[in-house]
Symmetry: C3
Subunit: 343 residues, 3 copies
Amino acid sequence: MKTNPGRFFEDYSIGQVIEHAVPRTVSGGERALYHALYPARHALYSSDEFAETCGLEKSPLDDLIAFHVVFGKTVPDISLNAVANLGYAEGRWLKPVYPGDTLRSVSEVIGLKQNSNGKSGVVYVRTRGLNQYDEVVLEYVRWVMVRKGNLDAPAPETVIPELAKVVAPEDLVIPEGLDFLRYNFTLAGEEHRWADYEVGEKIDHVDGVTIEEAEHMMATRLWQNTAKVHFDATNREDGKRLIYGGHVISMARALSFNGLANAQMIVGLNGGAHANPCFTGDTVRAYTEVLDKAETAAPGVGALRLRLVAYKHGAPEFAYKTDEGKYHPDVLLDLDYWAVVPL
Amino acid sequence: MKTNPGRFFEDYSIGQVIEHAVPRTVSGGERALYHALYPARHALYSSDEFAETCGLEKSPLDDLIAFHVVFGKTVPDISLNAVANLGYAEGRWLKPVYPGDTLRSVSEVIGLKQNSNGKSGVVYVRTRGLNQYDEVVLEYVRWVMVRKGNLDAPAPETVIPELAKVVAPEDLVIPEGLDFLRYNFTLAGEEHRWADYEVGEKIDHVDGVTIEEAEHMMATRLWQNTAKVHFDATNREDGKRLIYGGHVISMARALSFNGLANAQMIVGLNGGAHANPCFTGDTVRAYTEVLDKAETAAPGVGALRLRLVAYKHGAPEFAYKTDEGKYHPDVLLDLDYWAVVPL
Amino acid sequence: MKTNPGRFFEDYSIGQVIEHAVPRTVSGGERALYHALYPARHALYSSDEFAETCGLEKSPLDDLIAFHVVFGKTVPDISLNAVANLGYAEGRWLKPVYPGDTLRSVSEVIGLKQNSNGKSGVVYVRTRGLNQYDEVVLEYVRWVMVRKGNLDAPAPETVIPELAKVVAPEDLVIPEGLDFLRYNFTLAGEEHRWADYEVGEKIDHVDGVTIEEAEHMMATRLWQNTAKVHFDATNREDGKRLIYGGHVISMARALSFNGLANAQMIVGLNGGAHANPCFTGDTVRAYTEVLDKAETAAPGVGALRLRLVAYKHGAPEFAYKTDEGKYHPDVLLDLDYWAVVPL
């Protein structure tokens, strides 16, 4: 058979390295589309001059463009037969991605655990995105539940990697040259500095966006993510297309501009859960909770650890989990990340 | 509160200068999206070689891209709490915008008039779009009705600016170097020259486009215009998203290619009204009335003053106002502008 | 009348040469949109580095972008009053198209045959796409049925051009410098070489995409194809917009990556039929039949002649025609083309 059936649980082994197809050169076209698909306004990713004032050579592509491009390549090898996308950890952005760069992805299997039902198992991979100079621009761990293709295949030895609950502030990589000493708050859109945010503070990002089929499909294709659930309305009995979780991440992050306009660059991904599926017609809203604060070695640059919660319908009033510790049924996303903010 | 509540009527004062966030570097990506969102075909904005033959260094971005980018930045400061967008005047395009340019916007408050009900007032601003060299690329006056946040705030002194009903032909700025002496009418798509148009002539642009949610939202986001009425279907009781008036302007202008293929560049905006709201499912059509003609100092370049009327459903048969002088309920847009045309 | 009524059958004559408006400069923006509109993943069109390894200067724009841009320009002159798009033949891609190139189109009328009912006729044109150096990048023959505007116009002498059923392998033009000796199958996404494909082999491309209005309109506009049936929902009694046949071509070709990831470049178009109309809500699937194989003079480069069949709803189980030799009602496209593949 010439077509790709995807890997099943028994096809993975500890230490296995998978080089993913297809490398991708990005341009101003991807940026323009990102701005058309999401209400993205962070100035560092919008203006070459603003980025230069912050010590960068020019405006990079949004950190989440880098994430989606790197992630999308892994789908045919990692999650084509996935039952669920279970989590993220130890994500770090290591180099900005500029128009003209070419990205590719490599994953290493770092954990395996067959489920007790014998029908599926959990696969942990550490994925790295590399540019045309073989520099790692991004890395993260993801774990997914994957079906077994052959139920008689023996269970592998269980290996569960030890993963940091949080990327330690000293492990965050601030882009070379980044300098917020000449940061222009007026052009950035808000006055709030690192010192203005308090741990425990919650920010309602106010705005909502009602999701359309054409938009989430264009976004998902743009990252060359071809999982059929996102595109084929005949795939589910209810005729609905499941929206790529990354679409909700980008939508919520863009909405968070309102209140976090100065949380310019994402530098760490501590964890994340796609709490409930998102479908066309849902109106996505978001709020953020400040989880932690840290200093960095870069001039004028602080870091905030943020919990970004996306939800649909009525506001969950900052309560993203029920009393039983489960996600509220309206919560779509729970994302724990580090961003850099001017001091 | 960290989020932007927008300015209320009492927050404006005469002479106030507002520097708007967020600067934006544009590229070929914005052009490609413009071509995907509107049936835009004017040759000067489509081909570098055609633009060079017309004396420009290369093909600029569509004049309306410049307008929308500059306009979009003003929304969070000017029209977030606006009840209505009342009018435009004294618009002039002063410099072409090329891929790689970075645009920002600055507005000055030039008029204020509290309404007699004490609940709102009219704010007049002159907005300028500047490029990375601090050159003004575009300027226009707009006035909006804005709610008061504090009904007890005292009424400001009434100042109503004197605005020209029409930009005088001698005040139009023709881009430096523009020269239509070697203009290629075959490649441009039509044979009609400046001399072929008569004052009073009306041109039915024939084609119609049925509007979709995904398209108007992508367009509006592309200009970083974040007014929630365009995106959040839960915002209105009828569940409809109001379409950004600029989307109708661009759609009608692009449709006007059919009959005005040689009305290449917009150089003046005399006035404009969004006569009725536009919603998804409406089929937008357009006609143009030639209002005036003028010569310019540039070689081979004439100017036409045009009334562009966009309407939905049945043709209004060139009658955009009722006998009582009100807009016909099917009329969406009444735009009065100057364009340059080869002699 | 200033607007373009389109040409009628009696307006064409043998030998007539039509220079089409509007030239178009393409950029990375068009590529990004192509990737957003179609699940396109062929590595040569995705990565500059991959293309360089294959002997090209950088990654060209997808061959079908070139086709659509060239084709779109012909619509106002050739098919505005067309009743049906009847066929394609003798298509050859002669030069890759790179970001920054400017394309224009010229057609020559090579055949005419009035229908026996006297109300319409068939027009054959050979269309060439040229770049800014006046090099032909693409040529193909297309024939369409066009209405007569004046039923009293005399029938022209019937001329039916002799058209090759298949572009002979020796007439295929392989891009200068193309070299697959260092081809990276891992990055390309599949292991299958030219030798792995057998004549008669059929490949089900597995995935399906449900079509949306916003997407097909954006795609069709991007090519400046303005035929009203694609945009105006009031144009047909059933309120449906007919989807541009080229949208189905690109969708099916992109889907064919799954099984034909190494069929990198399209070099010949032997024939094609839009068997049935496609509408929003249809889920497009595709399969390919290997029709022929040929060697080429380029290092490591072989050619495959492929029949690409797009269909909707249930799988036609590789039976695209009924026993009576007619297209199965679910078949949308029957495209016969040559692609180059590493040996």
